[in-house]
């Protein structure tokens, strides 16, 4: 049984300029112990979609359903949500410099997490906090537990965040661009720590990123989002070898070491659409190199790409297009390597 099953999630905001429809019918599932990657450019609704699952988005109108381990997250009481947050679903945010409280020691913040949900004595919680800092490879954890966040580097702070989010062995960890604010070398370390922790504890992970390179090694399944919608959803292998959607192709082409010339990036021309305006039936129409009449007339359903039932794409291009893009394994090796540079 799936750990998390999100179905037709819609999130909108009433603003002075009108209704912003940030998430428009997103569905995905996460299996226990697995990693789901969510990819998309900035503004595609990744954060809003995932944070509204734990109902942390202020002023959002949310519809759809999100079943987590038998509980409907979108209709649970505030009390139930508080028991879920932290204990069953851990969260890590993009900017490690601002997501820890500057006035409390890291130990205090981890202990607070533990004691908010379990009645353990302070000393036991402290011992557990030291073990957690060890687990995320903070050197000399016993001494550093009483340091303040500003005494740590960005990468270390993100590891502290991981330690805190994992303190109660949550079944699901939502990591919202955990490495975006970090140096490339530090990125790889933090990802490695997350993978190791996952291997240790068997937690499922939703890993959000705008960089396909980041999830090339770690995701079991990938959801490609654009303008609040799912464009393509498949196992990692299909996304990298047999992608179907032109948007996925664009994201891949913008990876370094891709599209023929090695170090030249080919960003997707144009910008994501405003979420205030009415969109084309397919939101990618204005930027799509393959666009044809039907794309402007009819909404492409998120449908299986022949012959694979688990590979879904929302595009009118012929299904066997995916097979034309079978890439040699050497190309794939290149993508993986970007995650470790």
């Amino acid at each position: 049984m799936a750990l998390l099953e999100v179905d037709d999630l819609h999130v909108s905001f009433d603003t002075a300029d009108g209704v912003v429809r940030a998430v428009r019918g997103v569905s995905f599932t996460v299996e226990p112990g697995q990693t789901l990657g969510i990819v998309g450019e900035s503004g595609s609704g990744k954060s809003v979609a995932t944070q509204s699952l734990t109902r942390l988005v202020a002023g959002a109108k949310i519809t759809g359903s999100a079943m987590f381990d038998g509980l409907d997250l979108l209709h649970a009481s505030q009390r139930e949500m508080r028991r879920i947050r932290g204990r069953r679903i851990g969260m890590i945010f993009q900017d490690p410099l601002s997501s820890l409280h500057p006035c409390y020691t890291v130990g205090w913040q981890i202990i607070e997490m533990i004691r908010a949900h379990e009645s353990v004595p302070r000393r036991r919680a402290r011992q557990r906090a030291i073990e957690l800092l060890d687990l995320v490879r903070i050197p000399n954890a016993r001494a550093r537990i009483d340091d303040f966040p500003h005494q740590f580097s960005g990468g270390m702070r993100q590891r502290v965040m991981i330690a805190m989010a994992m303190a109660l062995n949550p079944a699901l960890l939502i990591a919202d661009e955990p490495t975006t604010a970090l140096d490339v070398t530090v990125q790889a370390q933090v990802l490695k720590v997350m993978q190791d922790v996952q291997a240790d504890t068997g937690t499922a992970i939703i890993l959000i990123t705008h960089d396909l390179g980041v999830i090339a090694d770690v995701a079991d399944e990938v959801v490609v989002m654009y303008a609040g919608q799912v464009m393509e959803r498949a196992r990692r292998r299909e996304i990298f070898y047999q992608f179907h959607h032109p948007y996925t192709e664009g994201l891949l082409a913008s990876l370094p070491g891709h599209g023929g010339t090695r170090d030249r990036l080919t960003p997707i021309p144009g910008n994501p659409p405003s979420l205030l305006a009415k969109l084309d039936p397919c939101p990618f129409v204005p930027r799509c190199p393959y666009v044809f009449d039907k794309c402007r007339r009819e909404v492409p359903p998120l449908a299986p790409v022949h012959p694979d039932e688990r590979h879904l794409s929302a595009c009118w291009l012929e299904p066997d297009r995916a097979l034309q893009f079978e890439w040699e394994s050497s190309k794939f090796a290149q993508i993986s390597s970007t995650a470790h540079r």
Partner: protein, 319 residues
């Protein structure tokens, strides 16, 4: 940290010294008629000369200043010109009154300001927020002597006329006469002093809280499953207090002005009123004593606030 303290204390001493110089200089720029007042209308020049001699006023300024400073180092601030009471004694009599007023008012204004500010910030644009805003604007624009007179008019005069003699017209009742009496005598002066400042602190806390509530670490706190009360007070208010405390340090100086006015309006014989009386009588030793004491309080309070600031925000390094 230690260096910082030493430096600040030396700075404070320098400030205090400059203040004694300034007060002395001012006093001797204005022609003195202390002796004339003391001796009465009919006094002969000889009497006046004698009085001046007895008070030491016929000495050269520098000599007088030197006498004052060397005695002050031993905690002797001299005697008042009119009754020959030790200045330290006069101040010791007045101090409890001023302390009652200042501490009580500070507690009210901080508690009221911070609490109102937090309530406004967690429900911005709600009815509660808007009424706090009206409250703040109303008192913010009001001079404290006017507020004092209004309170006297409505809560003393009108109430007493209506047969409810709850509050006295003024004066002080020491704690030895019972907490109740002391409290009733202090309520109106407290409100006079506190409401104006509480209004400022409501606005300050509100905006500071609104800033902090948008921070990522508040989202982190919520994602940990903490309840809203803990998020508001342990996480948000903790950071939001830093600018409030800084402002508190700045306002302690202003508080002195407020104390003087309030004590005068409510005829409380505290340090402020004593100082005003001394100034009208040109009673130099008393003036200097009180000014020096008030300045020392501000200096010490500012050092304490700096320490508190470093304690509140671990990123601050004292240097």
């Amino acid at each position: 940290m230690f260096r910082f303290l030493i430096l600040r204390i030396l700075q404070g001493i320098l400030v205090l010294w400059l203040i004694t110089v300034a007060v002395f200089a001012l006093f001797f720029v204005v022609p003195s008629n202390v002796a004339r007042t003391l001796a009465g209308r009919q006094a002969t020049p000889r009497t006046i000369h004698l009085i001046n001699h007895r008070l030491g006023l016929d000495q050269p300024i520098l000599k007088q200043y030197w006498d004052f400073i060397s005695k002050a180092f031993h905690g002797d601030l001299g005697y008042d010109y009119y009754h020959q009471i030790p200045v330290t004694h006069i101040m010791a009599q007045a101090l409890p009154i001023t302390l009652s007023l200042a501490i009580g008012a500070a507690v009210i204004w901080m508690a009221l300001g911070v609490f109102n500010g937090v309530v406004s910030a967690i429900h911005p644009r709600s009815v509660a927020d808007r009424s706090m805003t009206v409250f703040a604007l109303f008192f913010y624009s009001m001079p404290s002597f006017f507020l004092g007179l209004m309170l006297l008019f409505f809560l003393y005069y009108k109430l007493t006329l209506a047969g409810y003699k709850w509050f006295p017209a003024g004066g002080y009742a020491p704690l030895s006469q019972g907490v109740g009496q002391w409290f009733l005598h202090m309520v109106l002066p407290w409100l006079t002093l506190a409401l104006v400042l509480a209004a400022t602190y409501t606005r300050l806390t509100r905006s500071s809280m609104l800033d902090v509530l948008g921070e990522d670490y508040i989202k982190t706190a919520r994602s940990k499953g903490l309840n809203e009360r803990r998020v508001t007070y342990r996480h948000a208010l903790r950071s939001a207090l830093t600018p409030v405390v800084t402002q508190f340090g700045i306002d302690l100086g202003q508080l002195i002005g407020g104390v003087v006015i309030t004590e005068t309006v409510f005829s409380l014989p505290g340090l402020g009123k004593t100082a005003i009386d001394a100034i009208t009588q040109q009673d130099l030793p008393v003036i200097i004593g009180i000014v020096l004491f008030a300045s020392a309080c501000v200096v010490v309070a500012n050092i304490l606030v700096d320490l508190l600031y470093a304690f509140l925000d671990p990123r601050v390094r004292l240097s």
